[in-house]
Amino acid sequence: MRSFIVKSVTFLVIASILPLIVLWYLFVTNKFESFVNGAEVYASIKMSKEKSKKKKLLLGDSVAKQLVMYNKDNSQINSLACNQAVSMVGHYLLFKNYLAANNKIDTLVVLINPLVSFKNNLDQLFTFHYFLKPFYTEHNKSEFSEMVYNQIHKIPFYSASQFPFIKATNWSPDFKSTDPKLTTFLSPISREYLLKIKDLAEQNNITLLIYPPPLRQSLKPSIDSIRASDINVQGLEKEFNVYFNRVKYIDDQFYVDQPHFKKKFLKSHPNLLSEIL
């Protein structure tokens, strides 16, 4: 019995240390970034810090990413589109990185789905993986407003998000926001950071365009009712006027879920993104 316990404990201790060593290695070399949940965000962050000569920058969610992936000609576009869960704060930080890398662009396109992405108020299950882990760094903290901090502090273990053994794994707390459901089309944080994106674009003489991807036909009544209501886009009226005027509907059969297209459809429409832009 004694021998069994000693050997089991020894095995368990070594078995626990080994993964920690591997994790530490993955963390130090940043290799974890390519396989953890939210890997596409790390890829976008990395790209946002690289030099590029392209004059058009695209920010956006997973639908925008899908469109870029199947677009035939991306020679004029540099895309940092990743996932809506990064929130508008994440998009803003990507944009800021891009400019900090001395990239000169004339147009910034924010390609966003109207029903999911604008609603993000850093209150989602995936906020931990897609926002906190990649963006809640010492370097970025000065960019966060009080509203952002208030939301972050509601997420359990938010301060642990940068611990190597958490950041380099797929662990996240089971977070379910208890905030009252947002009735507005645009979340307060999305609005605040869209305005910041707009300011930054203006300071750098960049034209900001906020565009929708093509939407499924059955969403038309919802979109019409959003337009008819007070959507609280103060300071962004012009951009959202253009946004809603550009909504185009496509038959539901070409979608795999609410926002995403079927691969087959995208393969047969290789110019979809170019046409939008």
């Binding site: 078995a15 080994l18 591997v22 087959k264």
Partner: protein, 477 residues
């Protein structure tokens, strides 16, 4: 509390230490401790259903005694049917009521009659199908004079609720488990080490194989119309390995855990994908359920001793029941029916007991004929799994019709990492197929250092290649 959760790996050592040290190897105290731990384990799921489990346990304990004490056949039958009716009644209400209500309403709808049945908004108590079958086998065995009822209530309760088998089996028999519960247990070093090794392999099967295959299979099954025929074939194969890794992995952890407490549970899997025909597959897949149906349904119905029609009828009855046991959905019934159709030719030609020994026993490689037979059996079972996995029959048929399209001959979209892990897994399972579980004897003769490196490699693989955590499939049954 999942077997692959941190909570379980805190719970298990605590119970282990209390069991071997604090109880001072006193049998009564050990049993009481295991029962308390089992109830705690169950209450972690949903404490409200603990009362249902306790009631079911009491019912079978009580009716078991009554059957034994009964002087007349009529009295015996009364107590037996009371137990069967109440047990199946609970199962019917919690598991099947909504299915029958909606199916009946739909059938009436086809006849032009509008019927709106009241449906229940209840969740399925975890493990109900398993502990109900435990209890039923106990009372039936007493009725058939195979066993005498146990007097000690704690011993009986532990037989029903022993935590390693409580939520997803194996479905134990009183003749096998009760004597072990009643006998003084001494710590056995090699048994405990073997238990740990089996737990390790079970975790690998679940976390690495099943969870990785699940990610791919879920995507493919979710949007069959968006995938090529060849990708759908790979999706079905990945599901076949998902369900095997998931359930046999669970069973390995259950068996290994029980061994730490000096208890041997019934074997539930014996490398079913190396079967050479469907009959062999069913002798190797979910063995405790197949043998339960054989002993308590098939044989009492006359088995294969009657005429041709009786053979056919009984075969269909047990396969349909087996399908229905898995869940209240036509897909499970179709899965059961399909397996009955596969099985029938073997039964009618009397070749269903042709392959009783382990394939290629004592040889490294199978013969071409064995390989062909294994591939055919695997293909047939994988085809049947499509029904098992589908949301409904329409989903299953659209999946199958999409397979048989021109796109069947295109290159499938494959998850290379999962594919490579599967090849490695199949190789290890093949090497270890003559044992109770694949790595039981692998490396036992190697120097300790190399053996430990082997176990650490498995541990690291579990850690590095862990798929996105999925609940155990059989918990829903």
């Amino acid at each position: 509390m999942l077997f692959n959760s941190i909570e379980f790996f805190i719970f298990l050592p605590i119970v282990f230490i209390l069991y071997w040290f604090v109880t001072k190897k006193n049998l009564k105290t050990q049993n009481l401790l295991l029962l308390a731990a089992s109830y705690f384990f169950y209450a972690c799921w949903d404490y409200r259903f603990l009362f249902l489990l306790m009631f079911s346990t009491f019912l079978d304990y009580f009716t078991g005694l009554k059957i034994y004490e009964s002087k007349t056949k009529f009295q015996k039958k009364f107590w037996l049917w009371l137990s069967i009716s109440v047990n199946l009644g609970f199962l019917g209400i919690f598991k099947y009521y909504n299915f029958f209500a909606t199916s009946f309403a739909e059938a009436l709808g086809h006849l032009g009659v509008h019927a709106d049945f009241w449906t229940l908004s209840v969740i399925l108590p975890v493990g109900i199908s398993f502990y109900t079958f435990h209890g039923l086998s106990y009372v039936i065995d007493i009725y058939k004079d195979r066993i005498i009822p146990v007097k000690n209530y704690v011993e009986y309760s532990l037989f029903v609720s022993f935590f390693p088998l409580l939520v997803a089996g194996p479905i134990e028999r009183a003749t096998h488990l009760l004597p072990q519960i009643q006998k003084k247990r001494e710590f056995n070093y090699s048994k405990a080490v073997d238990g740990l090794r089996q737990i390790l392999w079970g975790l690998f099967k679940k976390i690495v194989i099943a969870d990785n295959c699940a990610e791919y299979a879920n995507k493919v099954f979710m949007y069959p119309a968006d995938n090529s025929g060849s990708t759908l074939v790979v999706g079905a194969i990945f599901f076949a390995f998902q369900i095997y890794g998931d359930f046999s992995g669970y069973s390995d952890i259950a068996l290994g855990t029980a061994r730490l407490f000096g208890i041997d549970l019934l074997r539930n899997f014996a490398f079913p994908y190396f079967s050479r025909d469907i009959a062999e597959f069913w002798r190797r897949w979910h063995i405790s359920l197949s043998s339960w149906f054989r002993d308590y349904v098939y044989i009492p119905l006359g088995g294969s001793k009657g005429g041709l029609w009786m053979k056919i009828r009984n075969t269909f009855i047990i396969f349909l029941l087996s399908g229905f046991w898995h869940g209240a959905n036509w897909t499970f019934i179709a899965w059961g029916a399909l397996n009955a159709i596969y099985f029938l030719p073997l039964l009618l030609l009397n070749t269903n007991r042709n392959n009783l020994e382990i394939v290629a026993q004592g040889r490294l490689l199978p013969s071409f004929r064995e390989l062909l037979n294994m591939a055919t059996t695997f293909m047939l079972t994988t085809f049947a799994w499509i029904f098992f996995r589908a949301e409904d029959l329409h989903h299953a048929f659209s999946y199958i019709s999409r397979i048989f399209s021109r796109s069947l001959f295109t290159v499938p979209e494959l998850s290379t990492q999962t594919g490579l892990l599967l090849i490695l897994f199949i190789a290890v399972e093949w090497i270890g197929r003559e044992n109770k579980y694949a790595i039981q004897h692998i490396g036992l003769r190697w120097p300790r250092f190399i053996r430990w490196v082997f176990y650490y490699s498995i541990t690291l693989a579990i850690f590095i290649f862990a798929g996105k955590e999925q609940p155990f499939i059989y918990f829903q049954f």
